[in-house]
């Protein structure tokens, strides 16, 4: 289990790397979305937004209507943000669940893979 602070710190690191990555900036072009993160073990909710090809800060709580909801354990979120976890494995065996329109799911799936590979 990861604490809210640990998760926020890991996200901050990931966000910095993503926003500095030109390939991701291209993939995120024109894709402005609200994403909710739900931790399945600690039952917490977070909100982040993508706007103008940039990932925004992580806010505590489920704010606004989400385009996408990602559910995973707090540990998996933290590992994913630190770049220690290959997201495709976790999607494939259903440990990370993405809910949203098929296009949004496709985008988030691909961008998290690129963020993992291209760090």
């Amino acid at each position: 289990m990861a604490t809210a602070d640990e998760l926020a710190e890991a996200y901050g690191d990931w966000r910095g790397r993503c926003n500095a990555n030109p390939r991701l900036a291209k993939m995120l072009r024109g894709w402005d979305r609200t994403v909710h993160l739900v931790t399945s073990d600690t039952g917490e909710g977070y909100t982040l937004s993508v706007a103008g090809s940039v990932l925004g800060e992580l806010r505590s709580g489920l704010v606004g209507a989400p385009d996408l909801v990602v559910t995973a354990t707090s540990e998996d979120f933290t590992d994913l943000f630190w770049g220690d976890l290959n997201p495709s494995e976790k999607y494939l065996n259903g440990e990370i669940v993405l809910a949203g329109s098929s296009e949004d799911v496709m985008r988030l799936d691909a961008m998290s893979m690129v963020a993992f590979l291209d760090q």
Binding site: R23, M113, D118
Partner: protein
């Protein structure tokens, strides 16, 4: 009613026509049903699928047949690390994409996303209606890869994926066709996935069983060893001639007259049937421009799946060589170990002259490079070289080049008088797959019953 071909499409058409109360004769060229799906027990006692074998999420027609007939499935083995062969070196990775060249893989994932976003805008059943259809159909998938994908490693990954899905090189496929095909199965990434995708599960007892059972239920309506050579058609009447093998082993023309015919064979084999009067020009051009992909499946059978002991999944992704993709095709109970490799596209054509033994030697050397010397000494190797099959002519599916869909696509399903078209190539979803074959047969049967003024049945 006559149905030509007892693959999944023809059997589906026949089953639905019989359910609608019509008299049906199915003429099948081979001595077996199932067409591109053929399960065989090898001498060593392993059951292999020489053609279609997998079922994935969203394939409701095939799942429906399996449920009806009580055929069960099991997950494709995928535990452990996959082997990547890149520039002749061996690496291990887990998850969907190789990780030895992370930047190349990131490029490949970004490119796949681009393709999937494009594919989402193309209607699988009628790609020619896309506002940019002409432009998308003038380019090949290969042109797109060259202009959009920066790194050589990513291009090689997309080529390997294309070979696995189509049995063709990216330069052979119209971009519009590739996009429509991908969307028909959800997305390109869905076509490439094992878990969560088109390679997710296999059938206990092999994928041909459902065809065999449906044919058994159709009984003597299914006539084997009856390759159709000509179709004469006039308004509301057809007469279909097959070269039937007589009990004394001779071939004799055998004619069946009917109100309508459903032709459920690959387009490339339709060109070998004499239609009288000839087909409309556009339909004939479509047939001429629908070559089959090139694919051979090679199965190496071992006492046991020894690679699993080393934490390997049995899957290989290679950027060069003959076998670009390998899977663990062992039975669910692991009573044998079976590695199955695809030989596809250019390599398959180049190795045509090497014969079965030559292809096996190349395949075993590559399996040994991926899994160690033990893999080079299986108890048995069997192959199915689909290009040499006169009633299939390649596989897994027809591969349309530039200009075909926009020029001839609307002729795909359009009946010609009393002649109706089925087959996976005509499907509006999962074209190229068993599921698409079944739905195409259902659609053709509905066309026939509607034309005859019978009520159209709903569902599968």
């Amino acid at each position: 009613m006559v149905v030509v071909g007892a693959g999944y499409a023809g059997l589906s058409a026949a089953r639905n026509l019989v359910d609608a109360g019509l008299d049906v004769v199915v003429l099948e060229a081979r001595g077996r049903v199932g067409g591109r799906v053929w399960s065989e027990t090898t001498r060593a006692g392993a059951l292999v699928d020489h053609g279609g074998q997998w079922i994935g999420p969203g394939q409701h027609h095939l799942q429906g047949w399996a449920d009806d007939l009580g055929v069960t499935t099991f997950p494709t083995f995928g535990d452990g690390a996959n082997v990547e062969i890149r520039e002749g070196r061996r690496h291990l990775f887990t998850g969907l994409v190789p990780t030895s060249d992370r930047e190349g893989s990131a490029d490949a994932v970004a490119a796949l996303l681009e393709l999937d976003l494009l594919a989402h805008e193309v209607a699988p059943g009628e790609p020619w209606t896309h506002p940019d259809a002409i432009a998308l159909d003038r380019r090949t998938l290969g042109d797109w890869v060259v202009s959009e994908v920066g790194s050589a490693a990513a291009r090689a990954m997309i080529t390997t994926a294309t070979l696995g899905v189509f049995g063709a090189e990216p330069c052979e496929l119209s971009l519009l066709y590739a996009l429509a095909y991908a969307h028909g199965g959800g997305s390109m990434s869905a076509l490439l996935r094992t878990a969560g995708g088109a390679q997710e599960r296999r059938f206990h007892g092999g994928a041909q069983q459902m065809a065999v059972r449906v044919a058994e239920a159709l009984g003597d309506r299914v006539v084997l060893d009856a390759p159709v050579s000509s179709v004469r058609h006039g308004p509301g009447r057809v007469s279909v001639t097959a070269d039937r093998v007589t009990p004394d082993g001779h071939r004799r023309p055998w004619r069946v007259d009917a109100d309508r015919v459903v032709v459920a064979i690959p387009p490339a084999t339709q060109g070998r049937i004499a239609f009288d009067p000839p087909l409309p020009g556009r339909r004939d051009q479509l047939v001429q421009r629908s070559p089959m992909g090139s694919v051979t499946k090679i199965h190496a059978v071992y006492e046991r799946p020894f690679w699993r002991d080393e934490g390997l999944s049995g899957q290989v992704v290679a950027d060069t060589g003959a076998l670009r993709l390998v899977f663990d095709d062992s039975p669910d109970d692991a009573s044998h170990g079976v590695l199955m490799g695809f030989l596809a596209g250019h390599e398959d054509r180049i190795l045509d002259g090497s014969g079965t033994a030559g292809r096996a030697a190349v395949a075993l050397a590559e399996l040994a490079a991926a899994f160690g010397p033990v893999a080079g000494s299986p108890i048995e190797v069997v192959e199915q070289h689909w290009s040499a099959e006169p009633f299939t002519r390649g596989g897994p599916v027809a591969c349309l080049g530039p200009g075909v869909l926009t020029g001839c696509g609307p002729a795909l399903r359009e009946p010609v008088g009393p002649v109706h078209w089925a087959g996976t190539e005509t499907a509006t979803a999962w074209s190229g797959y068993i599921d698409g074959a079944i739905s195409s047969g259902l659609r053709a049967a509905d066309e026939v019953t509607a034309a005859l003024g019978r009520p159209v049945r709903q569902g599968a």
